[in-house]
Symmetry: C2
Subunit: 189 residues, 2 copies
Amino acid sequence: MIEILRQHIIDRLGNDVENIDDVLERCKQVKVKRNDIILREGETCSAVYFVAKGCLQVFVYNHDSAEITRDIVTENNWCSELVSFSSQQPATENIRAIEPSVLFSIDRVSFQALVESVPQFDKVYKQILEFSYVNSVYRINSFLSMNALERIKWLMEYRPNLMTRLSSKLIASYLGISPETFSRLKSKL
Amino acid sequence: MIEILRQHIIDRLGNDVENIDDVLERCKQVKVKRNDIILREGETCSAVYFVAKGCLQVFVYNHDSAEITRDIVTENNWCSELVSFSSQQPATENIRAIEPSVLFSIDRVSFQALVESVPQFDKVYKQILEFSYVNSVYRINSFLSMNALERIKWLMEYRPNLMTRLSSKLIASYLGISPETFSRLKSKL
DNA sequence: CCTGTGCATTGACAAATGTCAAGACTTTCC
DNA sequence: GGAAAGTCTTGACATTTGTCAATGCACAGG
């Protein structure tokens, strides 16, 4: 399973990868069941996670205790609560496995050590940051410029696997609409 | 004016700053008038900008040619179209000065050189990326969990200066609501 | 100083989306 | 296997937000 992570790093850096084993040694494999909570708001986020298999939901609760899904992270992507991870303040978001998943976690101490000592890893980290940022920019633009139906179409185009893989309720919460509206609009496609 | 940028970098790195002059030498001062376009969609973004004075709007046009404001960048912050800047593909966003402004621009070649050769600069870059990402996470959560009135209150709390500094039309476009709705909700505060 | 252009506000109405409730259907778990 | 819980869909209705139009106002530019 760790080979998936190795390949991920190689994919991002090409073939000139030294010290990759230093990175992999620091990664702890974690298996989680469906609905397991990986991070609870209020706790301090002490690791970043690579999703080798499965799917994570990053979410908060609104004032009615309904879940607001800020992000869905699938295989071959990294997941964390960066605000809490880098500042070591209590997290404001929750992370949950929505499928049985296999993760590789790197704790904060190892992470800092790798950033300092393995330039390759630092590069990967920057790529991940840029990727996350770019994704969130798209997401912001989708909220600013699209109505609910357009956002559904957008999801179908850019993250089609989510449409088949997730429950309607979850998709609706990711799109920022009610399950009822989602159900109604789907039938208008 | 360049002292503002010097101070910005020192603020982010503490006192152990070497090579800072290598960075500052690469920065070209640019003065722009109100409404000057700094980047037009379709062009390739060739620089990052530090806003020493003034205010920039990052925006796109929706299908009705109305402006959608993805971000507002004020003094002491960095602005760019990162997607285009790092991939050298045509930009999908526009950048405009909404006040007379003073910028320091670092072109792509210089930027790459600094990232490679000045570890300090690389650190600043990562901090900026993290900051931008965190901000966009908050913004996404605001769209997911708040209605128009709540977003207005949120803006008043977290970016109060924008409320006094920008036109109502611009604020509305930043919040993702129509100017009419903004006008009506303001009176309900 | 005048004029035109764009901005802010308000009203009337339309469209989009949310809420609540009910029923059919699945899935989970003992 | 069967009860219990959760999901999906649909209807009726409420609320939020958008659109269009009109007016008053401020401000830039000749």
